[in-house]
């Protein structure tokens, strides 16, 4: 009896500590932007909207959010379209060594956008005149996301029986019609998963845009956040917290919207 009670108390305490560990930073993010004198601890704010006003005085803040949006949407669109086509082909056509190819791509993808390949990537972007362009950032980030996206989408496509497509073929549907009428609607949750995952990834990317973009007019939020320091190099917590809040809102809104609309679930990327 006592043992049971002790176990329950122990479990509750453990969960409370874990919950606190994860919720305190979020609490900070919710309170600090409205605090006249934020510190790195969470406290009841001395309420003000002043932080937002001084943040908006920074000319790059709003444009950086627009840039983030542009790069994230561009990469997500590119990744979804290319990954869907590649995954469909890989799932339906027997290519020798297909699985080996997928695993090698997956392995390389962490290298492609990783720190290790940054120098050659920079070199490549320079020669292709892609430095200081959104396209350069979009292509680089998409390249890194594609293998994993193909891998996950191929799993979705493998899970849909080919008899649907064959049935449509017998009725005379063309390959594009089959893709539009049958395959895409069936793997829509997978496509939504990939799109959200790509947006979230690009939204948080710092290194690639930091290196590939010189012009602060084109920099995304992650890079601008890095500039919110005093001349002395001390972080300006009022601006950083306020910007962080603004910066995270679009992603949260997107999650809620897509989850409502498509009911996608992350089961380690694998549906069912």
């Amino acid at each position: 009896m006592t043992r049971h009670a002790l176990a329950t108390i122990g479990r509750a305490t453990f969960l409370a500590v874990v919950l606190g560990f994860f919720s305190l930073p979020l609490l900070w993010l919710a309170s600090a932007p409205f605090d006249a004198h934020p510190s790195i601890t969470t406290s009841l704010p001395e309420f003000t909207f002043g932080n937002f006003r001084s943040l908006l005085d920074n000319p790059y803040v709003m444009s950086s959010l627009r840039n983030s949006l542009l790069q994230a949407a561009g990469s997500a669109a590119l990744v979804v379209v290319l990954a869907a086509l590649a995954a469909y082909a890989l799932s339906r056509v027997r290519v020798p060594g297909r699985d080996a190819l997928l695993y090698v791509l997956l392995l390389l993808s962490s290298v492609v956008t990783g720190t290790a390949a940054m120098v050659p990537l920079f070199e490549l972007a320079t020669r292709l005149n892609l430095i200081d362009t959104h396209l350069g950032v979009i292509l680089t980030l998409s390249g890194g996301l594609l293998p994993a996206a193909i891998f996950i989408l191929k799993d979705f496509m493998d899970g849909t029986p080919t008899s649907y497509e064959e049935s449509a073929r017998v009725f005379g549907a063309s390959p594009l019609q089959i893709l539009r009428h049958i395959v895409i609607p069936l793997v829509r949750p997978g496509l939504a998963t990939i799109a959200v995952w790509a947006v979230a990834n690009v939204w948080g990317s710092f290194l690639q845009p930091f290196i590939l973009l010189r012009d602060p007019d084109k920099s995304p939020g992650a890079v601008i956040l890095y500039t919110l320091y005093t001349e002395g190099g001390a972080p300006r917590l009022d601006l950083i917290s306020t910007f962080s809040l603004l910066y995270s809102l679009p992603v949260v809104v997107m999650y809620v919207f897509v989850s409502r609309r498509y009911g996608f679930r992350f089961h380690g990327g694998i549906k069912r």
């Binding site: 064959e166 049935s167 017998v170 005379g172 009428h181 609607p185």
Partner: protein, 353 residues
């Protein structure tokens, strides 16, 4: 009309699913492809539909050679074994799908879908998704979709095998009436000999990628061309016993039977359906034309019983009417009815005996 000549399909890896097959199927015929699982029925159907490319041979539909045509241009409709109803479309959109491909206007194709649906008593279900339908309803939606495309040929892959036993009989009758009304050439695949006998105008029995016999249900049932067909057709398996012809007499399992004319001496295979023998439980004095044995197993078939006699190391099965079933272990005699047995030599049917 469908004509296949020298049709062969070899899968990568060397499996010959269809082996140089020739077949003619007439206009409006209800044609069954019957055979055990794995004999190549589905592959043959898919090859006719154009979903598989034959390794060699030709396919003609309605007089035109369609071997090189893609499935969509062969004017066929196929009902898949799992029905392949599009799960994200409601019943109306599923039935109307072939018309959508043919660029029929939305209003017209929905009217057509509703008309076809009412013919198959699906009118109440038009707004449902396939997941909300029972197996029998899904099967009818799949049929309706095939009908809506107004093809020259229907191809059905095991159309009834996903239904439960009770529903299967109803669906069978329904399917037969529907085919009669539509009068469209129909090829259907089944591994169930009862289904083939009940539905088809003609049956092709397949074994290991080849057709062993083509005929009407009655021909295939009464004169199976080889021991394989003999063993495959019939709700109870045919007795197939080693026999020999000697001096004008037929010796089978200890019995001596009259030998039909024109059969040379030598070993034979004697085939007798369990329905075509009578069981006697009193000793038949002085008669040599009966198989004697001990009752080993009695199986209840409902209105009859299937009795298995042990005669030496041979087993002989006889169907006995209700109420006449013997006790296990009793001695009994099976008397073949005259003219009902079949004789095979070198796997060819010689004649009835």
């Amino acid at each position: 009309m469908i004509s296949l000549s020298g049709l062969t399909k070899e899968f990568p890896g060397g499996v010959r699913a269809i082996d140089s097959l020739d077949l003619e199927i007439g206009d409006g015929e209800f044609f069954a492809l019957l055979g055990p699982s794995g004999c190549g029925k589905t592959t043959l159907l898919r090859t006719i539909a154009g979903l598989e490319t034959p390794t060699s041979g030709n396919i003609g539909i309605g007089g035109a050679d369609v071997t090189g045509l893609p499935p969509g241009r062969r004017d066929v409709a196929m009902v898949f074994q799992d029905y392949a109803l599009f799960p994200h479309m409601d019943v109306t959109s599923n039935i109307a799908y072939p018309l959508r491909i043919k660029k029929v206007s939305r209003a017209r194709r929905e009217a057509k879908a509703a008309e076809t649906a009412s013919r198959l008593s699906l009118s109440e279900l038009l707004a449902r998704r396939p997941a909300q339908l029972s197996g029998g309803q899904q099967q009818r939606v799949a049929l309706a979709r095939a009908i809506a495309s107004r093809p020259q040929v229907f191809l059905f892959d095991e159309p009834l095998s996903n239904l439960d036993a009770r529903l299967r009989l109803e669906a069978r009758t329904f399917l037969k009436r529907l085919q009669r009304e539509l009068a469209v050439t129909t090829v259907f695949v089944t591994h169930d000999q009862g289904e083939a006998l009940a539905l088809a105008d003609r049956i092709a029995v397949m074994n290991a990628g080849r057709i062993t016999q083509v005929g009407t249900p009655s021909e295939v049932f009464h004169r199976p061309a080889d021991p394989f067909v003999a063993g495959f057709i019939g709700s109870t398996p045919m007795n197939l016993l080693p026999a020999s012809a000697e001096g004008g007499e037929l010796h089978v399992a200890g019995a001596v039977l009259p030998l039909p004319r024109d059969i040379a001496d030598g070993p034979l295979l004697y085939g007798l359906r369990p329905e075509y023998a009578d069981l006697s439980q009193s000793a038949l004095i002085g008669r040599r034309d009966a198989f004697s044995g001990k009752v080993a197993v009695v199986e209840n078939l409902g209105t009859a019983h299937l009795v298995t006699l042990e005669s030496g190391d041979l087993l002989i099965q006889v169907v006995v009417p209700e109420g006449d079933e013997p006790a296990i272990g009793a001695s009994a005699w099976a008397v073949p009815r005259p003219g009902r047995a079949l004789l095979y030599r070198d796997d060819r049917l010689l004649t009835g005996a």
